[in-house]
Amino acid sequence: MTATTLKETITTESVRTGLRLNTTYYRLELRRIMRDKVTLFFTVGLPAVMYVIFGASPDYGDEPIRDGNVAMWIMIAMAAYGAVSATTGIGGSAAIERMQGWTRQLGLTPMRPAEFVAVKAATAMTVAAAPILIVFAIGALTGASAPLHVWVLSALVLVVGAMTFALYGLGFGLAFRSEAAVSAAGGALVVMAFFGNIFIPLNGWQLLVAKFTPLYGYVSLARRPLTGGNTIDPETGDLIPEPLWQVLANVSFWTIAFAMLTMVLVQKGRGRQ
C-alpha cells in the first residue's frame, strides 16, 4: 500500500534527521483552536473590526506616511494585537495542559520535548498568521497603502515577533496556575497594547513610558518598514527619528525576560511534582 510505504519513509526519515514536525499533532492542535469560537473571535474578529473602525473609516486614514498612509500604520498595529493575543493564548493553554497532566501523559510516549516544542511553535506561528492575513487582506481592500516590500516585511516581523508572547502566556499560566490567569494574561494585553502605542498614537511622557513596555518594541519594529525608523507625532503628523537600537533593546529585553521567567517556573514546577 502506498500509504504504508509513505508512512515508513517518513518514519525512517525522522530517525535519520532526528526531528520532524508531528503533522498529526499539529493538525489536531489547529482543530482544537477552531473549536474554541470565542477565543477565535477575540484573536481574529476583534482586531479586524477595530481596524475597520479606527483605521479604514476615519478621514485621517488617507494621510500619508512616507510612501504609505496612516491606515497602513493602524492596520499593522491591529494585526500585531491579534497576533499576540493568539500566541498568548497558545502559551497559556500549554500551561493549562501541563497543570492538567497532559505533559505527563506525553512524558510516557517516545515523543521528545523538542518535538512537542516544535508542534507548539508551528501552531503558534499559524495562529499568529491568521489575524495578520485577515487584517492585512481587509486593509488592502479598504485603503491601507504602502509599497509591496513594506507589506511583506511587516508581516514577517509580526509573525516572528509574536512568538515572544507565547512565552509570556506560558509564563503567566505557569506562575498563577489557573485558567482564569490565562484569561487575565489576555486581558493584560489590552493595557500593554495601549502603552505599546497600538490602540492610540502616544506622544510626550506617555510615549516615553511606552518605550519600556513589552508590546512597544514589537509593533515599532513591525512598523519600521513603513515609517523608515520614525515615530509619528499625533498632533502635527511630524516624523520623529527613533534609533533602531532602542527598538531592538526593547524586543530583546522582553524576549529574554519572558524566556527566563518561563524556565525558572518550569524548573520550580518540576520540583513540586
Partner: protein
C-alpha cells in the same frame, strides 16, 4: 530482547523525600528504602493504603521523579530512557487528557508519537471505546476516561504496563469490564504492575503482591500468602464469668493469634486462623455467642507496620 537475567524493574535502596508544605514538618519521606525486583511476565500488585508511597514508587519507575537515594533500572536502562524506547507504558491515575478532543482524536494523537503504533481502530476496539469514539473527552464518564488512558497505554505495544489505581472512579460493572480487558493484555505476556488499595483487585488479578505501608515494603510474595498476612479475621465471643482472664491468657499465648483483648466483657481475638480459634473458643474454653468478621485491610496494615513487617 530481554534476557531472563535482567529484571524488568529493579530497585535497590530507593528513597524519596519531599519538602513538606508545612515548614514545621520539614521533610516527608514518601519512600523509605525499597528493594524490589520484578521479572518479565510477572503480574504484580502494589497494595497499600493512601500515603503508603505507591504512587511515588511508580513515578520513579516511570522517570517522572528521581530517587533521593538508591538505584532504579527498567529493562536495565535509566527509567526515562526506558520510556523513550517505547517499551514502557502507563495508565495514569487522573488527568492527562485534553478535554476538547474526541476519544478517537486522542488515540490518533498519541499514536502519532510512536514510531510504529498499533492500529488506532484495533486499540479502540480492545479498550471497548468503539461506541464512544466520536465523543468529546470532557463528556466521558470517569470510567470511560480511564478506558481511554488504557487505550493510550496499549498503542506502543509495551512490554511493561504500569497502572496507578486504574479503577478509581469506576462503578462495579466498569471495574469488572476493565479487568477483563486487562486480563486479555496480560495473556500476551506483558509484565504488569499496578497500584491499588483494594485487596480484592490484588487477589483477582495479581500472582504476586507487594504490600506497602509508610514508604516501606512490609510484605512481598504470592498474593494468597500476603493476603493471609493482610486479611486476618476478628472473632469475638462471650466467655463465662470469672473465666475470662484465664481464657485470655491461654488464647494470647497461641502463635496463630495476633492480638487478644477484652472489650466490654467480650473476648476479642485477631488471628490468621479463625477456624482453629473458633473451635477452641466454643469447645474447651466454654465461650458462646461467637461472631467472626474479616479484619479490615487498614487494621492489617497497622499490624504489619507495627510488627516491622513479615515475608
Amino acid at each position: 530482547m530481554t534476557t531472563t537475567h535482567t529484571p524488568t524493574i529493579h530497585l535497590r535502596g530507593v528513597q524519596r523525600t519531599f519538602a513538606s508544605p508545612d515548614p514545621e514538618v520539614g521533610e516527608v519521606r514518601a519512600v523509605d528504602g525499597i528493594d524490589l525486583d520484578i521479572r518479565p511476565g510477572e503480574i504484580v500488585a502494589l497494595l497499600g493504603p493512601n500515603g503508603a508511597g505507591k504512587t511515588t514508587t511508580l513515578d520513579m519507575v516511570l522517570g517522572f521523579t528521581e530517587p533521593t537515594a538508591g538505584a532504579i533500572t527498567v529493562f536495565g536502562l535509566a527509567p526515562q530512557e526506558a520510556v523513550l524506547s517505547g517499551r514502557v507504558a502507563a495508565v495514569l491515575q487522573t488527568g492527562g487528557l485534553l478535554r476538547d478532543l474526541t476519544v478517537r482524536e486522542t488515540v490518533e494523537l498519541v499514536a502519532s508519537t510512536h514510531p510504529n503504533p498499533d492500529s488506532v481502530d484495533g486499540v479502540i476496539d480492545r479498550a471497548g471505546l468503539g461506541a464512544i469514539q466520536q465523543q468529546r473527552v470532557q463528556s466521558c464518564s470517569g470510567g470511560e476516561q480511564q478506558r481511554l488512558r488504557f487505550a493510550l497505554a496499549l498503542l506502543g505495544d509495551p512490554d511493561l504496563l504500569v497502572l496507578d489505581e486504574p479503577t478509581t472512579g469506576m462503578d462495579v460493572a466498569a471495574r469488572h469490564e476493565f479487568w477483563a480487558s486487562m486480563r486479555a493484555e496480560a495473556e500476551k505476556g506483558r509484565t504488569i504492575v499496578f497500584a491499588t488499595h483494594y485487596l480484592q483487585e490484588a487477589e483477582d488479578f495479581a500472582q504476586r503482591t507487594v504490600l506497602m505501608a509508610n514508604g516501606r515494603i512490609v510484605a512481598d510474595g504470592p498474593t494468597d500468602e500476603v493476603r493471609r498476612h493482610a486479611a486476618g479475621r476478628r472473632l469475638s465471643a462471650r466467655v463465662a464469668d470469672g473465666r475470662i482472664d484465664e481464657v485470655l491468657a491461654e488464647i494470647a499465648d497461641l502463635p496463630i493469634v495476633r492480638s487478644a483483648v477484652i472489650e466490654r466483657d467480650r473476648l476479642v481475638v485477631e488471628t490468621n486462623d479463625s477456624d482453629e480459634i473458633a473451635r477452641l473458643l466454643l469447645g474447651t474454653l466454654g465461650g458462646s455467642d461467637l461472631e467472626i468478621e474479616a479484619a479490615s485491610l487498614e487494621t492489617a496494615f497497622i499490624q504489619l507496620t507495627r510488627t516491622g513487617g513479615a515475608s
